[in-house]
Symmetry: C2
Subunit: 257 residues, 2 copies
């Protein structure tokens, strides 16, 4: 993810386990999306001793595929094993951000001598079940937590741009990828699912039409349960019919939402 992280890990590796080699100048950034309440959330790291935030990221080992590296990072930050992951873009401008300013902001954490050539970063986004994640900071961060998409602060590096692009990719792929299956808990209500679509698309949806379409598509199964303990009328619970969901996505997608 970051040039100095490369260096840091090299350093660690040298002292800890010998010479695990990294692919030079190549890093990863992960945009981890969750859904809760009525909004999309994203996992951010807060850097030690600062008020600065960034996306979680990492490096790529020589004997590790890009996907495996992303899986490793995701597991470290979320505790989750089986994660829905998509590579969405590789960021390769020469000056992705103002390096001098980053160097100053993080001088107390990273030895400035460890900075070197321009990093190229492969972007992944992940969809996770908010309820099952236990956010876990890395060595250079003091906390790792969920942020509402609309409250995301200015981030370090070019991470605001990366987040933008991830969101754009998510929207484009919304009709072809099993987004609901990965963002929602196993049992969910129709209004939950609708709010998820509203949060991603950024627009209001008519609940009657939404329900009609979803039910007609056959991707969900209505359970003989209602959600208890919520104020107001208890909503029915549903779960996905994974096979049917996959089939519908293959045969043209869920465009009609």
């Amino acid at each position: 993810m970051l040039t100095f992280e490369i260096m840091l890990e090299v350093d660690e590796n040298k002292s800890l386990e010998g010479n695990v080699e990294l692919v030079p100048q190549l890093t990863l950034d992960c945009v981890i999306f969750g859904f809760h309440g009525s909004s999309l959330k994203v996992l951010l790291l807060k850097w030690k001793g600062t008020e600065y935030y960034s996306l979680p990221g990492g490096t790529v080992k020589q004997e590790e595929s890009l996907d495996d590296a992303a899986i490793r990072v995701l597991k470290e930050r979320t505790g989750l094993d089986k994660i829905f992951l998509r590579q969405f873009y590789t960021f390769g401008k020469v000056e992705r951000y103002d390096r001098e300013s980053i160097r100053k902001k993080l001088a107390h954490l990273v030895n400035p001598d460890l900075w070197y050539k321009r990093p190229i970063s492969v972007g992944y986004y992940a969809l996770v079940d908010f309820e099952e994640v236990f956010p876990n900071p890395d060595l250079l961060s003091e906390s790792c937590g969920w942020w509402d998409l609309s409250d995301v602060p200015e981030l370090l590096f070019d991470h605001n741009e990366i987040l933008e692009k991830a969101l754009h990719a998510l929207r484009l792929e919304l009709s072809f990828q099993p987004v609901g299956l990965n963002l929602l808990p196993e049992k969910f209500t129709m209004p939950d699912m609708m709010r998820m679509y509203e949060a991603i698309l950024g627009k209001k949806i008519d609940p009657r039409n939404f329900q009609k379409k979803i039910l007609k598509s056959g991707i969900v199964i209505k359970l003989d349960e209602v959600k208890k303990g919520v104020a107001h009328k208890s909503p029915f619970l549903y779960k996905f019919d994974a096979n049917k969901y996959e089939e519908v996505l293959k045969e043209g997608g869920l465009f009609f939402i």
Copy 2:
């Protein structure tokens, strides 16, 4: 693109212009699509003294963005300056292909000592006007030419897989990107455009419905000319209304084709 190309260019650069540095292990592969007759075409290189083919590719200089590197490769192979280019995937498996077999196949061209660490390749696809391209081989290839998509032979490296993925990306983005504007010549006929869609989507389209939809969308302007010198009835010529095209793509895309 290829590990030994990295080495070769380093070598060239050393002798030719000093020490232009390359980003290590990072390469580019370009899938250049054209359209002619009734089919999609792709530009392939034939390696000197062999019957082996591959996609055109290249390396990334330290002071050059990924996009600029792709633009450079595209210009070298096609002679074109302003090309529609999209990054679609970064290939990062540890063993992307059988290196030993490649090494043998190309031993007469590349010194085996020059092979080293596993390459990671950023994939771009390009859309070009078939008529305006003058294919131009590189240093290691004896020819560079168009291949019908359905006749593409087995390619070196993992290039069949890369081509597959590029085609998949093209299909996904067909409704959001100005594909027609880039693949078709400035003046084109309605059946040309229809055949282009048929070639990309791999299915037949009803010409009456197609014409109705395209005309209603307003993205093309009918010219006061017909295409002459063709057998049979002379078809009318059209050109794109670039502004309207862009507007339609932004406002939801050309899904209805």
